[in-house]
């Protein structure tokens, strides 16, 4: 669960805060303008103890942290060869894909798509999970989602307690039908 903490910053000269993207909207009071100062530091290489060697980024696909809709798969998918239907569903929805920790531990998918307590925290408008039981460590990463849909063949899966919509059924049957229904509705 996500607890709201109200904090007062004490009387120090410099106050700094940052917020997670999508966590809440910014608001400027009417007539207010923020002043912007140019800052041109003179720094040479000797300042740096950190050197960037390279950078690689996934391109083209919808990025998980910014996605409005996320489709996530779990161990219920049985193997990486079954991920195709997740990607098809995500494509039909214009969604990003993610997965739960057990999938990360067995290396079915790249690590930056792991969603959960020790992975990425996401807060999309719609979070659809397939074959994920809903252990609290996973919930910790997704319970800020506006709407959660859980598809799982186990009626006792804890995730159903945290969901808005639920489907009990075999993912391999349900997901393709859902993809069809979404395409049909466009």
């Amino acid at each position: 669960m996500a607890v709201l903490v109200f904090v007062e910053l004490s009387q120090r000269e410099v106050k700094m805060s940052s917020r997670a993207a999508l966590s809440y909207a910014s608001a400027l009071k009417d007539g207010e303008e923020a002043s912007i100062e140019a800052f041109n530091p003179l720094i040479d290489d000797s300042y740096f103890s950190v050197k960037q060697v390279s950078r690689e980024k996934a391109t083209g696909k919808v990025l998980l942290p910014e996605a409005d809709i996320v489709v996530s798969g779990g161990r219920g998918l049985k193997g990486p060869e079954n991920w195709g239907m997740i990607e098809e569903l995500a494509e039909a929805l214009g969604a990003a894909t993610g997965y739960s920790k057990p999938v990360s531990d067995i290396d079915w998918r790249p690590h930056h798509e792991h969603v959960g307590q020790t992975g990425l925290k996401v807060a999309p408008t719609l979070y659809i999970t397939i074959g994920i039981s809903g252990a609290i460590q996973h919930l910790a990463g997704v319970n800020q989602s506006k709407y959660i849909v859980v598809i799982n063949k186990d009626t006792d899966a804890p995730f159903f307690k945290a969901a808005d919509f639920g489907v009990v059924g075999d993912a391999f049957e349900v997901v393709p039908k859902l993809t069809e229904a979404i395409k049909a509705s466009k």
Partner: protein
């Protein structure tokens, strides 16, 4: 920090976390830091000091760190009021020593602030990086990978520095029986808090609203689910 499955409640007019009955554990991100540093020591030698700023109920976490492979442990005996306070206590301890590397979790799992590593770096005048997902050291230079949105960057950093660790930097370590037995009798160095560098005051804790009841949809009615998502939830 509180175990993930702890009951979350607040006392004192909802200004304090209720610790009654809560089990305190090493945070999972800190567990990654500890595991990695134990591996580095196994490869290269050196010594590991585990440090925790917390009250009496957190002492078992230091015992566990010793059992996993830390050589000694320091208990910063104080209520970890906020990140700045914790960072200042860590920096005070570190100033007196010559640590090559200060590793911790990228964030805690109670407040998820992700600030302590940055603050410690600043207070000590050294670099801090997070989240670090890979860390190797050769000849006084570290090669590490840091996770960025949708990818990774590879960096070279000269020692000393502070790193906030995250998976998959390594796998968590489970203490073995021998480690647990030796950890039991090892002395903990207790350090009392210095100064009162606190930057914030929590004025209120609020639990999120309860979710309404779930709407179940039959597995053969995906059209109906799409309709609900479109018309009721308005998310499609």
């Amino acid at each position: 920090m509180p175990d993930t499955t702890s009951r979350i409640a607040f006392t004192n007019n909802n200004t304090e976390f209720d610790k009654a009955g809560v089990r305190f554990v090493i945070g999972p991100y800190d567990d990654y830091a500890l595991a990695r540093v134990v591996e580095l020591k196994e490869q290269r030698g050196g010594s590991i000091t585990a440090l925790n700023v917390g009250e009496a109920e957190t002492k078992p976490t230091l015992r566990k760190a010793l059992a996993i492979g830390a050589d000694d442990a320091i208990h910063g005996n104080a209520n970890p009021v906020d990140s700045f306070f914790v960072a200042s206590q860590i920096a005070e301890v570190a100033k007196g020593e010559n640590y090559d590397l200060i590793l911790m979790g990228g964030e805690s799992i109670d407040f998820n602030g992700g600030m302590v590593h940055g603050m410690v770096g600043e207070l000590l005048g050294i670099s801090s990086l997070s989240p670090v997902v890979k860390l190797e050291i050769e000849n006084g230079v570290a090669s590490l990978a840091r996770e960025i949105e949708g990818g990774k960057e590879l960096l070279e950093v000269s020692l000393p520095f502070v790193a906030g660790c995250q998976e998959p930097i390594t796998e968590w370590k489970i203490p073995n029986m021998r480690g647990i037995m030796t950890a039991r009798i090892q002395p903990l160095r207790v350090v009392e808090p210095t100064g009162d560098a606190v930057a914030t005051e929590t004025t209120l804790y609020e639990l999120p609203p309860e979710k309404g009841s779930i709407k179940m949809v039959d597995e053969d009615s995906m059209g109906e689910l799409v309709r609900l998502l479109k018309e009721e939830a308005k998310v499609l």
